[in-house]
């Protein structure tokens, strides 16, 4: 045993990881944010200020990738495969991301009418039946992004439950490993293998029978020499599933929760649906679906006046930066009309959220529908129960009672 120093912030951070505090980590974040940088362990640091996080997200001295596993299969660059490009650095990251952007972005930009139709359909199931209640997570927040991703991938709706299952299991990979049990770590490996096994015939089928879906597009994008191989393709699709799915679930659920806790804002959105973009930006700031992102210093780097040695872990606490009083007036107030809402919910730099535009559309459409179609909505249980994930944080269930769901 080496001697371990005691780091006071580590105890506070331990409480953040503790599921008992999942429903409201913000007082703990405020405690951690008393210092711009906190030491969590001998080689681990936590950054809490908006200005520092913004700069560090764009600093090439912070790497998003882990050490390569030499036994891993080979990527299309001829080097050991390192996982989804969210967890890779340039240059290979850029190649994979560019292919994905070219295929993904044009497909999502035209999707607003389909998303409006999906949301309308999901609420129609409850419409015109008078007083009742539903779980916003199960009835709206979950099925919406699953439907969207299945539409993008050209997967028939009956496969949606399979995607739903994979999304839940694969998402745990994004949590700090110390918060996972042995069994959860083992299940992750199994889930990844099963995901590849599930996708492989689908990819082979698109090879043989090219369609206009995202998978088909990725199979033929750009320079053949740069194209993703099978493991990269499966991993990219898995990343889109997790990143495009769990985050949206949290956005819709966190947004509904914020609006029902701030009924004046709900009233303003109902009266003026043009407020929806501002509401979504404020939800992203106030209660971001992704709370933290991790990096590793490739070289010695000065952060908030401290010299961080090369090799140390640097955690960027996005959710704390979003409530930095130096950047936001009244940071703990949910205030859609706030001027200049430069939140950190989508990260920044080379890993800036690929699906930001899609998330915004989904959030705007879903929250507008909640505001305009539910008569007298109210929370049944406050706070609601939360899923275990610390990093992608959101309610597991959000029961809402109403007088009616209008047509």
């Amino acid at each position: 045993m080496t001697s371990t120093r005691f780091y006071p912030a580590a105890a506070t951070y331990g409480k953040v990881l503790d599921h008992a505090n999942r429903h409201d980590p913000y007082p703990l974040f405020a405690e951690l944010a008393r210092e711009p940088i906190q030491q969590l362990a001998e080689h681990a640091w936590l950054v809490t200020r908006h200005e520092d996080i913004t700069a560090l997200l764009r600093d090439p001295r912070l790497s998003a990738q882990n050490e390569a596993d030499p036994s891993a299969p080979t990527g299309s660059d001829g080097k050991p495969f390192r996982g989804p490009f969210l967890m890779q650095d340039p240059p290979h990251h850029d190649t994979l991301r560019a292919q994905t952007m070219r295929q993904f972005v044009p497909r999502i930009l035209g999707m607003r009418p389909q998303i409006e139709a999906m949301v309308a359909r999901l609420l129609d199931a409850h419409a015109g039946k008078g007083p009742g209640e539903f779980d916003v997570v199960a009835s709206l927040a979950y099925p919406l992004p699953v439907g969207v991703i299945c539409e993008l991938l050209g997967v028939p709706p009956e496969e949606e439950p399979v995607f739903h299952g994979f999304a839940g299991r694969l998402t745990r990979a994004l949590d700090p490993v110390e918060s996972l049990t042995e069994a959860e770590i083992a299940d992750l490996e199994v889930a990844r293998a099963q995901w590849r096994a599930y996708l492989t015939p689908m990819i082979q089928q698109r090879h043989a029978n090219h369609g206009d879906d995202l998978i088909s597009g990725l199979l033929v994008d750009g320079d053949p020499a740069d194209r993703m191989n099978l493991i990269e393709l499966a991993t990219t699709l898995g990343m889109l599933l997790i990143a495009g799915h769990e985050t949206t679930v949290n956005l819709v659920a966190n947004g509904t929760l914020a609006l029902l806790r701030n009924l004046d804002a709900l009233d303003r959105l109902r009266a003026d649906p043009d407020l929806a973009p501002a509401v979504v930006e404020e939800v992203l700031r106030y209660d971001p679906p992704v709370q933290q992102t991790g990096r590793r210093a490739t070289a010695e780097i000065k952060i908030a006046g401290r010299l961080i040695p090369a090799g140390d872990e640097v955690e960027l606490l996005l959710a704390a930066g979003n409530r930095d009083p130096l950047r936001f007036t009244e940071p703990d107030r949910f205030w859609p009309e706030r001027p200049s809402n430069a939140h950190l919910a989508f990260g920044g730099g080379v890993h800036y959220c690929l699906g930001a535009a899609l998330a915004r559309i989904e959030g705007q459409v879903a929250l507008t529908a909640i505001a305009t179609r539910l008569r007298n909505p109210r929370l049944v249980l406050d706070p609601p129960p939360y899923r275990p994930n610390m990093l992608l944080r959101g309610p597991s269930e959000l029961r809402v009672a109403y007088d009616d769901v209008t047509a």
Binding site: T54, L57, R58, P60, Q88, D89, P90, V350, Y352
Partner: protein, 422 residues
């Protein structure tokens, strides 16, 4: 202060006006502009406008607030009387001021031989009207366009002509395009990419004369070639629009109007002139972070920063003025490349490739001067530059340790800056 007059109605002038109102200035606000147009955005002129993506009628700068100002557009300032506190206009009018903001910018350096400059088909590009005239000529399917000067404007014009499918020759006096700002190493790397796109780039080459009667037909180059060209774009740099300040007592010459970091104009003795400010391309000042002679920074961001500083200082007690200290930064889009710079690479004596490679894909180079990092240039890698900005701000040792996954093993090499202006 009852009346503030802003001379120059482009980005710097407009932003100063808006910022004055944002700072609570309720007095009379007068904007004087030589062009007849409302303030518009210039960077697209050489890019999306020439390529035909948007018309010059789509360039108006967005207004962030109601200005409640008097606009004197199409009115050139011809003189300044500091004692009478008056700006004189070409039409004989005089406009009195209590506070004055000089934002007259810079113009394109004209071709030095007036007879040749007057030939039909010979262009410069600085304003909307220039762009409209050039666009009209480019629509006539010219055989070849000659761009004189491979600086940023010249390179962007060449890129736009190339996008239109028009063969392009670029002559550049220095050893590499944009070497004045980026140094010869990075300039050469970018020049190679321009050539790979099919540009006839001729470095260390000048144009000795333009040929034609009334209409341009060709150009003679210093390498002995005679080119058949229908269009020439003269992109040999800019000259400050401050001739109207001659004799005013302000420290103005062809290279700028001197001001301090608080944007306060200086007189010929170097003293602050009360109530008179200089912002944007016309202003020459010493950036506090760099040990370098005063210079004008012809950057979009600098115009905005100085506008806000000047407006703040005009509306607050002068005991504790605000200063411009943001790091210089600019960008250029050309030939599928986004080139972004932070700091002052032109001061450097050494440069090192820190990420990527010169031949293909994105790259970043860092610039050092006497062992400190003073700037960085990124090609197709804009999202990492904040990290380099931090290194410049901290005056980090050069070469900086980056050790990114795409960092090559590279040793710094001396920067050579091309002789003279582009």
């Amino acid at each position: 202060m009852n009346r503030i007059v802003i001379v120059g109605a482009s980005l710097a002038g407009l932003r100063t006006a808006e910022s004055l109102r944002a700072n609570g200035f309720t007095g009379e606000l007068v904007l004087i502009g030589e062009e007849p147009h409302e303030p518009y955005d210039r960077p697209p002129l050489s890019k999306t406008v020439l390529s035909g993506w948007i018309g010059t009628d789509r360039l108006l700068l967005p207004r962030t607030r109601e200005l409640n100002a008097r606009w004197l557009l199409g009115a050139a300032a011809t003189g300044l009387d500091l004692a009478a506190r008056e700006v004189r206009l070409a039409d004989g009018r005089a406009v009195r001021f209590d506070g004055l903001v000089i934002a007259t910018g810079a113009g394109a350096r004209p071709w030095p031989v007036p007879r040749e400059a007057a030939l039909r088909g010979v262009h410069v590009l600085r304003g909307r009207d220039d762009a409209d005239r050039l666009c009209a000529d480019l629509a006539e399917k010219p055989r070849r366009v000659l761009v004189i000067g491979g600086g940023f404007t010249g390179s962007e014009v060449a890129s736009s002509c190339h996008d239109l499918g028009i063969p392009v020759t670029v002559t550049h006096r220095g050893v590499a395009p944009m070497a004045g700002a980026l140094g010869s190493v990075v300039g050469t790397a970018i020049g190679a990419r321009q050539r790979a796109r099919g540009i006839d780039l001729r470095v260390s080459t000048t144009v000795t004369s333009l040929v034609g009667e009334e209409r341009l037909t060709g150009a003679r180059l210093s390498d002995g070639d005679v080119l058949d060209v229908d269009i020439v774009v003269v992109a040999t740099g800019s000259v400050r629009n401050n001739g109207w300040l001659a004799g005013s007592g302000l420290a103005a010459d062809g290279r700028g109007l001197d001001c301090d970091t608080a944007s306060r104009a200086l007189d010929v003795t170097g003293a602050v002139v009360p109530g008179v400010y200089a912002v944007g391309d016309v202003a020459r000042w010493r950036h506090p972070h760099f040990d370098a002679p005063p210079q004008s920074l012809e950057h979009w961001g600098n115009a905005v920063d100085q506008a806000e500083v000047a407006a703040h200082n005009l509306t607050h007690a002068s005991t504790d003025p605000r200063h411009t200290s943001a790091l210089p930064a600019f960008w250029s889009d050309q030939f599928g490349m986004n080139i972004k710079s932070v700091g002052l690479p032109q001061l450097a004596d050494e440069v090192v490739l820190t990420q990527g490679c010169f031949e293909r894909g994105p790259f970043v180079a860092a610039y050092g001067r006497r062992g400190s990092t003073v700037g960085a240039v990124a090609v197709n890698s804009p999202r990492v530059l904040d990290g380099y900005a931090a290194l410049v701000t901290q005056r980090a040792a050069f070469p900086p340790a980056i050790n990114a996954t795409d960092s090559p093993v590279a040793r710094p090499v001396p920067v050579t800056v091309s002789g003279g202006k582009p």
